[in-house]
């Protein structure tokens, strides 16, 4: 019995995991591929494999190389920092289990965003867009504004689903209309407009948010390929949000066109 386990352990120890990683040394340099073969451990994920490469930066040819750079933070799929393209699909590397991936495991940065180095990308575009759409609930005044309006519990429940977005950028990477020829802010941001407009206090600025997505790079750029909803790791109903915002902007457009002296609603 114990002999068998020893044999098994031996097998495990000799087993390796193959990686092909697209690397890039500086934001402007040419990307190149490098292969790695690292010792297998049970329950490995892509991040622990990357940590192994960092510990011992030797590529598959046995040559010493620079450690691969990547980004990470929470390690439990809530921050979005570790997103990359794994075997052709954008997703979080902290929840990408090696046992569930076909080898060689191909890692690429999400090229929809500017690459900083190797697998690290700069998602600044999304954070700037969050500012553009005023993705917050304004509660500050020059005096105590008191309590806001009550939010119905059942509404809170569905908006909670929208609030799970971690600005990871996977839906932008999946969208055919987010690329260097367009400046579409992307599905996540449209869903955020729905989230903040659904909040009773947030709704006090809803026309401003709608106006923003009716301008440059806004909801008009959506072409309904509906990849976003398939790609989102948080299961956010992005296409429903987009259609809802389509309806809201339709109403807003008619209000603007036929003239209304009402702001907000």
């Amino acid at each position: 019995m114990s002999e068998q386990t020893a044999v098994q352990e031996q097998q495990v120890a000799s087993k390796t995991v193959k990686f092909e990683i697209q690397r890039q040394d500086t934001p402007d340099s040419k990307p190149y591929w490098e292969s790695f073969s690292i010792p297998y451990r049970p329950n490995m994920n892509v991040i622990s494999a990357l940590m192994e490469i960092r510990r011992n930066p030797v590529n598959a040819d046995g040559k010493k190389t620079t450690p691969v750079n990547w980004d990470m933070n929470c390690l439990e799929e809530v921050c979005g920092a570790c997103s990359m393209v794994i075997n052709g699909r954008p997703r979080q590397s902290c929840t990408a289990l090696v046992d569930q991936l076909t080898q060689p495991i191909r890692l690429e940065p999400m090229r929809t965003f500017p690459v900083v180095r190797d697998l690290v990308v700069d998602r600044e575009f999304m954070f700037d867009s969050l500012k553009r759409i005023k993705a917050w609930i304004p509660i500050d005044g020059t005096y105590d504004l008191g309590e806001g309006p009550r939010m119905p519990e059942r509404k809170r429940q569905w908006t909670y689903e929208l609030s799970k977005c971690m600005t990871c950028g996977v839906c932008l990477e999946a969208c055919p209309n987010v690329n260097d020829k367009s400046n579409f802010i992307g599905p996540a941001l449209l869903s955020q407009v729905r989230l903040f407009n659904a909040h009773p206090t947030g709704a006090m600025n809803k026309d401003e948010r709608l106006q923003t997505i009716m301008s440059d790079g806004g909801i008009g750029e959506c072409g309904n390929s509906q990849n976003c909803v398939v790609a989102c790791p948080k299961g956010i109903p992005l296409t429903t949000s987009i259609a809802a915002m389509n309806r809201a902007t339709t109403v807003q457009m008619f209000k603007n066109f036929f003239g209304s002296d009402h702001m907000v609603d």
């Binding site: 055919p176 440059d216 806004g218 909801i219 008009g220 390929s225 509906q226 990849n227």
Partner: protein
Amino acid sequence: MSRESDFYLRRLHSLLGVIPVGLFVTQHLVVNHFATRGEEAFNTASNFMGNLPFVLFLEWFIIYIPLMFHAFYGVYIAFTAKNNVKRYGTFRNWMFLLQRVTGVFLVIFIAWHIYETRIQKALGAEVDFDMMANILSNPFMLAFYIVGVLSATFHLANGLWSFAVTWGIAQSPNSQKIVSYITILAFLVLSVIGVQALLAFVV
């Protein structure tokens, strides 16, 4: 490229695709169907359409101007996408790609079709059953026209679906699915009408 007016241009593009262009295409295919009742029936119908009062005005404002805007802005939309059906081979992503492929093909097909019929008429030719029978007697042209008609019916049907989503009519996944079924049905019906008419010229 980016402009503040993009939102309105996109909405106009979606609207014009249905009214008037979509309506015109449907009407055109239905009138063509007279060909299945024989040469005389087709010629009467085509004469009626070609001699409507204010026909030039109608042609320009119901067909050419909206169609040209829809076509040229559509080509711009088609070429700003970076298609990725390899990565996401879902039904909707394929529809997204096919909408753009058929759209670009239709620009070529319709330009050729207008040259062969309307412009020839302006140059003095008679647009009638014989003219079409003549064109379609060439098997290559028959195939070209069949693909053209199918592209048009597909582009129209799928465009109706995106119209429903773009204007916020169909919102929930369920309603979008039902609209999908309805537009698939519209595609099938219009395709049968269109192809039957084409085949009526060759037998």
